[in-house]
Amino acid sequence: MTLETTGATPSLTLTGIGHAYLGRTVLDAVDLSLAAGEVAALVGPSGCGKSTLAHIAAGVVEPSRGRVARRYRRHGMVFQDPRLLPWATARANIAYPLRLLGLPRRERRERAEEAARRVALDRADLDKYPIELSGGMRQRAAIARALAIDPDFVYFDEPFTALDVALKRRMQDLVIEAARGARFGALFITHDLMEAVRIAHRVVVMDAQGRGIAGTRAVPGEPGGRDDGTVYRLVAGFLSDDPLFRHIHDIDERRVP
């Protein structure tokens, strides 16, 4: 794998990805390419296979068909639920990927504390176990865990769905800030178009049946540079005028083929 940093080289390329669970096709012929440093929001109705796609791209799930080409150095991942080790303190949880990388204890500690500072996780909370933390703090720890390894790409798999509106907003700002500061690219899975438009350079809409990408729309302006009015107008425009977003709010958990 070559290390290229030119903006023209895509950091992540998915080619002809297909996947089936127990014989039922959930993804078919998905092609997607992300430019280096680009934050793309992947949206689609619930059950269309966006999470599976993110898991395939991150190497958690092996695809049945297709190729994943990762041209970034290292990725982090934030899941919908925090997925913290219940028996380890917040500090040890944030340092967990560093432990997998085999870093010495002292460096793990320092980098975990630095990552915690970036997501505004209080130092006093670092010695607590996940069970003692609130939902928001747990998700902060999960984000810090993804940032601790200094990634140049981060997968977000509907990370803020379970949080309340105010907290969600703060977490989104945190991600925008971190992405700008550390210049990482990201694939951000969400079913919330408002969130997608706030956070991303580009919105990618998945086909409702998981058969490929239905289309993509560049979002004008920079993430973090759009004020609330702009975000509302963009979302309203997408929903009312753009046929691409027609099925975005269809809810069909167990769709029949």
């Binding site: 991150a58 958690v60 991942m77 219940p86 028996w87 432990r99 997998l100 176990y129 069970i131 390894i149």
Partner: protein, 274 residues
Amino acid sequence: MTTGRAGAVLDRLGRVGQFLWSGWAGLAGLALFAALWQAGHERYGDFILPAPLATLAAGLTIAADPAAWELAGQTTLRAVEGFALAALAGAAGGLAAGYSPATMRLVRPILTVLLGVPPIAWIVLAMIWFGSTDGTIITTVLVAATPVVFVGVAEGAVTRDRGLDDMARAFGAGPLARLTTLGLRHVAAFLFPALTVALGSAFKVAVMAELLANTGGIGGALAAARSNLDVAEALAWVLIAVTGLIVVEYTLVHPIRSEFERWRDAARPWGVKR
């Protein structure tokens, strides 16, 4: 980081103190048991049920005799050997079964058969195979204790959080790293209770096998007490066996387990821990 270290030491001292303090509750329970025992003694008389204090005195007389220590040591050694073998076999098998559903399907019926055979039958078989030797006792203990450990570990391995496995995989953990950092840590929480039960049954089965196979040890002493109709001495030997078990459990098994379960305690409000 000096404050952090001092804090950790204080924290540990606090937990040790809490553990010792919780001993009062255990003592209260034992005192209640002794009271019931005394009541039984007063109702049924000396021959059927000697008084707790008389038993204690008989136990102390036995404890003063070096030969008795040798007998107790013999039993302990056999029980611990069988227990260690059972822990190894059960843990390895349980882990394999928990991670591989095919192994689980193969092993489950075997386990049912093993558990279905009464321990007494194993003693008879082992006596035929090994004669009146340590082998008889150790085999019986092994057969009795392995399924307990196996089931506990397999249960732990099956209930591991696959979400955490996926998380580790997303951060580039291979199968071995996932096993050592997630799998074993989760299984440990199931392993320790299983080991406690297995250790208890190892002692009990060892004494029983000794009694039936007439191979010395505490069981042999109990057999002698029975033939002499010396109820106080028989009870004293039981007392000694139970004391040994309690000592091992509270100095070894419980401290290690509470170390693994610290995070669970963290969620409980103050005052209702343990």
